[in-house]
Subunit: 225 residues, 2 copies
DNA sequence: ATCTTTTGCGTAACATTTACACAAACAATA
DNA sequence: TATTGTTTGTGTAAATGTTACGCAAAAGAT
């Protein structure tokens, strides 16, 4: 038992993990194995320990529940509604992640009965206020993809221009002219063509790669306004 | 006394309140009246109550310590380093605010010995990890001012174009061509000239006003990419 | 060999940004 | 009153970026 002079809230972390399978934007969810909301789907996450930061807690819980580890996560909002958990006062610090879906095998463990990818437009009923968290995460994703090269975290090391365009179109809900999109991307200077060619039905396309160093170099030197 | 089955962190809120006095960007700080860090300067903030959201807690503490109330605040990051408070494990949810400095009278109260504006480049030694919080708030401010019309929250209802430009120059650390800046701003469509004229040394300039409705209308219709 | 699909490149029209020039409207001063 | 200095609003040409297309090349399918 732990006692305090003043009341303290419990603190959890939750991860909104986005994946891309080539045509759909997907979200990683777990089925809750314990109450409350047992049997309902939820974001991977759980209680933070006292000897770890929120980031560390979020990554530990993600690994425990889905076996995914060693990915980059980014805090985006802390949800503090008074009655968001029926047990006691619980805040949750929410994180965003974008990963190459095929690179990580998802295996449920511990408190999670199952762990599974869901297309973003076909989500099941969710536990707690996780619907709100996902809504805010999607807004953040739309914002970030327009100003930062996060699409490439969802793709393999090498990718075709069509794959990039599909991500932008799925996330932003718009279509773009293929030829202008191609020019715009290559003009950025950090989308580098490689020697490899993609095989498919039509003319083979160049495989590109994202040059993170060149990107970082650019944002250092860019004018802001 | 409050007891829990598992350890719980304490949770505080902190407000990074920016003000503008016509030429300098300023930050609102309080002098701590109690330990730890008694006598050191700190961000206004304090422990969150169990029956309030983080936003409500932040605004309550801000009013208690500086008498400033009824302002718009916005959560930007939660700081979770394990040893950021010497007493116990304490997380802090940090908020950003931009206000018309002259509109609000700052009066210290309660746990604060003093409350005072400091130029952003002449901050005193700070308590806790508040230096880090302010650094991140400044980054966020630079990011936001380039993509959102937050400069007008720092200005009076009517303002000259020179005042707007000064804010952009101070925040971003760059200078802009006065004539192009003027055109760019008026071209936005939501910076409206009024009939009033500003009096000063040279030719009197138009007083402008920020039309929030027109701005909101625009972001609804804009193309994202 | 021909058709269909997909990719890469080109180009003209249009829009935006940048770097200035210049005059108008005031206060201060001679 | 006339001149000077300061600040503001508008104009404009050159450079740059965006948009809407046309077209041919390179593959698989028929």
């Amino acid at each position: 038992m732990y006692t305090y002079k003043y009341p303290h809230p419990a603190v959890t972390t939750d991860c909104v993990v986005f994946g891309f399978d080539g045509s759909n934007l997907n979200l990683l969810l777990i089925e809750r194995g314990i109450e409350p909301f047992k049997g309902k789907w939820a974001l991977p996450g759980g209680f933070m320990n006292m000897d770890e930061t929120a980031e560390q807690g979020a990554m530990r819980e993600l690994q425990e529940e889905t076996s995914i580890k060693d990915i980059y996560i980014e805090q985006f909002h802390t949800f503090t509604s008074v009655k968001r958990d029926p047990r006691e006062r619980v805040l949750t610090i929410a994180f965003l992640a974008f990963i190459r879906q095929e690179k990580y095998e998802v295996i449920a463990g511990d408190d999670a009965a199952k762990a599974q990818w869901f297309p973003i437009d076909q989500l099941p009923e969710l536990a707690f206020d996780h619907k709100d968290i996902i809504t805010m995460a999607l807004d953040k994703l739309k914002w970030k993809i327009t100003y930062e090269p996060i699409a490439f975290r969802l793709l393999n090391k090498t990718f075709t221009m069509t794959q990039v365009q599909t991500i932008y179109e799925v996330v932003l809900g718009q279509t773009f002219d293929r030829r202008n999109f191609h020019k715009k991307m290559t003009a950025l200077g950090y989308i580098i063509p490689t020697e490899m060619q993609s095989r498919g039905s039509g003319r083979p396309g160049t495989l590109f790669t994202f040059d993170e160093d060149k990107y970082k170099e650019q944002i250092e030197n860019k004018k802001v306004f």
